[in-house]
Amino acid sequence: MESKMMTFQAAAAEGVAQEMRRDPTVYCAGEEVSAHGQAYGVSGQGVFEEFGEKRVRNTPIIETAIVGHAVGAAAVGLRPVVELMFMDFLGICMDELANQAAKMHYMFAGQYKAPMVLRVSSGAVRPAGAHHSQSLEAWAAHVPGLKIVAPSTAADAKGLMITSIRDDNPVVFIEHRALLSVEGEVPAGDYTVPLGKARVTREGSDVTLVAWSAMVPTCLEAAGELAAEGIDAEVIDLRSLIPLDKEAILSSVAKTGKLVIAHEATRTNGFGAEIAAMVADEGFDLLKSPIRRVTAPDIPVPCSPALLKHFVPNAQKIRAAVITIS
């Protein structure tokens, strides 16, 4: 298949642009997505010039209506790709997402659906403080009816974006800010990646590391360090949290007997807890040691870089967790 090097951000934009060309009902909306805003927004990147104001819609600072209007538009036939500048703003549109978009299909017994994508940027990358740094996937993961996608590579950003736009359900599409400028080979053309299919990013036999989004490269870094110490780690990139590829996790744990889950979100009720519970439920006999979670501590994200560096899990912490069960 033909492919080219591009950034995660450009790859996601290419996915959106291709779908906009293919399907006239697809449009983008969000803060700073149009002409001038491309310095900040992600949706506008590369698509505004081509599609113009009708299909790339700049909004005021109104997250409630950004998500809420998308629910209505989606219910009657459009395919909105809307954006929150920071995932931290999820609270402002939580009713629209959790009570409206997520429930519509079930409550109305299938008469309406909400095929929309909510793009959110996540992560504590630069010191921006407690309101511009969070990873809140677990908030959305607790809501039945939503799908949650969190790619770690440029190719997946494109392939999962196209699949998410075509999905008939509301999808929260998480783009970690540390990944936006990371480059990778991206297949050209109509490239899709199914939701609910994890990928084994690195094969190994001694321990399973499960991660998503920006924690995947961090796990790979840890796996490199562990290899030097004679521990062969397998790294699984979930790519989507809902649907969850249980099979991929369980079959890896069947091989290694050991599981470490890494996420940037805070610990208590983080999505790692769900994975640990699932494996304890469905794979208890496969385990040779306790499950370990490497997460941020249960605190708001501190601003000072001196504290931030201790907040975000790193390869050393993942390595240390593996050592405790090796």
């Binding site: 900040y40 005021p60 501590p297 000072s304 001196a306």
Partner: protein, 320 residues
């Protein structure tokens, strides 16, 4: 501008201190000393200075992401503010908060805030406290033109208006929310028009005229203190820099920008002080020199202030 019997030189000093503080941050940011982005208040000083000149130490201020001016005007210590921006333990919040999360409870400053439009409901509740406890204290809420579209604006003004709360909502209309102009984000000319929906007074003032701001705020605050309820004040102003430190603001027409720079609130206030014989050129120079010395010291303090250690990380999640 017509000078009344107010402390014009005091407001001038306040504005100069804010400008100097912000420009010092910009210099340090460009030198790589400031972690992260900062939303500078330069150009909008007359709003903070004019409104807060009417406040007592026991009144409250709820601020925004562009909040250094509000904190300084309310009496904030520039050294502790600067150290907070620098992420050091000498800062107001020991570096945990940063530029968008600095507070001083002893001065009634409920914090700068990272969420656009978050100040409005909080200030409303603070106003309830002032009324509930039968005080004559007031709550002043700052927010931007962009924030005035949010639900929090409308819900807060509704609540404050029906409860007749002593809240003064001060909109800093700098004509842009990031790169989006007011023409693009709202369908009316004056944000103050929105007051009509809630049956409260809404006034538009030249936000670069510190006397006009002062007088409009004085009227609203006197009314609020005596049980007369809520006011919306829209101050038309202009930010001299980009949305934040890294923003070159190429989306603004340079001619319009230059026109606005001619209306610099500090220059206008200085000219008024001189023309009214309220200050000499030497006195104004002294104000600037003192501010520079003060802010140099604040930068020095911040650079020498220790970084927080790891053991600070988990401290303070819950009130004991």
């Amino acid at each position: 501008m017509g000078a009344t019997g107010l402390d014009l030189l005091g407001m001038y000093r306040c504005m100069v201190r804010i400008r100097t503080f912000e420009e010092h941050i910009l210099t340090e940011w460009r030198a790589g000393e400031v972690p992260g982005e900062v939303h500078l208040y330069s150009g909008e000083e007359a709003v903070a200075a004019g409104v807060i000149a009417n406040l007592r130490v026991d009144d409250y201020v709820v601020s925004t992401h562009r909040g250094h001016g509000h904190v300084l005007a309310k009496g904030g210590d520039p050294a502790r503010m600067m150290a907070e921006v620098f992420g050091r333990t000498g800062g107001y919040c020991r570096g945990k908060g940063g530029t968008m999360h600095m507070a001083d409870a002893t001065l009634g400053i409920l914090g700068t805030n990272g969420i656009v439009g978050a100040s409005l409901p909080i200030a409303t509740g603070v106003g309830l406290y002032c009324q509930y406890m039968a005080t004559d204290r007031v709550s002043v809420c700052f927010f931007g033109d962009g924030a005035s579209n949010r639900g929090t604006f409308h819900e807060s003004l509704d609540l404050a208006s029906i409860w007749k709360l002593p809240v003064i909502y001060v909109c800093e209309n700098n004509y842009y929310g990031m790169a989006t102009s007011v023409e693009e984000h709202m369908n009316i000319n004056d944000i103050a028009e929105r007051a009509a929906s809630y049956g409260i007074p809404g006034v538009v003032v030249d936000g670069n005229d510190v006397v006009a701001v002062h007088d409009a705020a004085a009227e609203a605050i006197i009314r609020a203190r005596s049980g007369g309820g809520t006011t919306l004040i829209e101050c038309k102003t202009w930010r001299h820099h980009g949305h934040f430190t890294a923003d070159p603001a190429y989306y603004r027409d340079p001619d319009v920008h230059n026109e606005h720079l001619q209306r610099d609130p500090i220059i206008r206030c200085g000219a008024l002080l001189l023309s009214q014989g309220l200050a000499t050129k030497e006195a104004l120079d002294a104000v600037h020199n003192e501010a520079i010395a003060e802010m140099n010291a604040a930068v020095e303090f911040s650079k020498n202030s220790p970084w927080p250690e790891e053991d600070e990380l988990l401290v303070g999640l819950y009130a004991e």
